[in-house]
Amino acid sequence: MKADPKRVLTGNHFINGNHSATEGAIAAGCTFAAGYPITPSTEIVERIAARFPRVGGVFIQMEDEIASSICLQGGAWAGHKSMTVTSGPGFSLMMEHIGLAAITELPCVFINVQRTGPSTGLPTKVGQADMMQARWGSHGDYEVIALAPSSPQDCFDFTIDCFNLAEEYRTPVFLMSDEMVGHMTEKVVIPEADQIDLLERKFYTGPKPYLPYKPEANGIPLMSKAGMGHHYHITGLTHDDRGYPVLTKEVQETMMERLMGKINDNREKLMRVEEYMMEDADIVLVSYGISFRMAYKAMEMAREKGMKVGLLRMITCWPFPESKIREIAQKVNSMIMVELNYGQMYIEMDRFANAYCKTGLVGSPCGEVHEPEEIFAGIQEIAK
């Protein structure tokens, strides 16, 4: 299905990443958002509050992030494409409900404009230290999908992708933005509505009784929504096809195999990476989000000095592009993760690469983006 022209601000814009993400959500058909404004994501809820009433959407400012992250789930069960937006401590408060969205298989989008932590940290400064939290923050096993934008244009494009992935896999999907991308203003090209492909939610239209967790052939059950006439039960407890709690190991196993499998079995399909100057590279930088841009600059500096440096950009951070990392690691001398934290995605990269090549990290306590020179120094260090 194509986007609704009434929801698409077709044209060339000079806007910041946060506003661009909002336009992406609107173009994607998001009609319900709940949030509690927090720096540096506030511009998103501001624009949602201004724009949603004009495009047939509802925004509720909740009392906090715990309420926001459960409110959006009510919206999604009512049939809306739903999202919430947060940063820093707000993301921490949402963790319990991310697990609920995972076990109830709810399509929804969380935008996290990352700032510097821990705790309130540096509220107005950039960070990328919530990457592991996005993956593991709620208790129990579950899989997520997370994309990392590097520019305001990505914020528009990837927010649409997040909504499509949420609908396709019935799972919470994260846009892991950051303060720099969110507040940076650049040209954003918003295409014609008929150039934007959307995945619409598939509802169950078969005979009653409706079994809310009976999977289709692709392992993903069809949804219902309030008002369609179905009686069903939704719970955070381990449940069977009917959605009722069945607290046994057998049902847990069946449920978990499907929950994990629907993402894990599609790892290759979900993997989105970009490769730069890899043909002859013996040192490969790996990066994502805002740090990708600095890593690119450092790669150019290294190339000017005659060093054979390439760059792998991860667009999908979760699921982690492990097959690509393994493939590259077997061909090069070293791989270096560039990120604004003390080594989070580095742990994953190292896990898949260290059997084949040297690995290194150019991390940061956050607060500012890397100077390309810092990354170049890191390259020289590992190349010794």
Binding site: F14, H183, T185, E186
Partner: protein, 184 residues
Amino acid sequence: MTTQEVRLGGFGGQGVILAGMILGRAKSIFEDKFATLTQDFGPEARGGAASCAVILSDDPILYPNVFTPDVLLAMSQGAFDKYIGGLKKGGILVIEEDLVNVKEVDPSITIFKCPATRFAEEIGRKIVLNIVMYGFLVAVTGLLSEETARKGVEASIPKGTEKLNFAAFEKGYQYGIEQKAKTG
């Protein structure tokens, strides 16, 4: 021109950020090149001072921060004092001459002065001083063509204010051309 970095600073309320937005919008949309704007953001940027930096380039921009701009536009003494140290040797300093007292600067720096607030008052609304200053900036630096610079204004102002804003732009631009001719 391949890449030019511009720092704009002044008081909150002067429209410094909007001037930067127009510059970036004109370059990226109407000249189909690249522009990245970043602003000082945080408790220190609320209230008194306002500042932004714009990178204009023929090529995609990677590193977004600006520490040593080619051009500094200072519309307050505070902005001048804070940012003059970062201005590149051989760079261009553009000031609101009634609001900024230029202390000693490196002799390699070219200075252009514009009484933008007075001009804006003559035009009828003090609020357009940023557009006067933007017109002046564009004229003395050549960062944009006159045509795209004007399109940038047109795309950035509320409907119904075109006459006022274009008058402000013309005033600043023409004065800039005159001043530039004097400087040689």
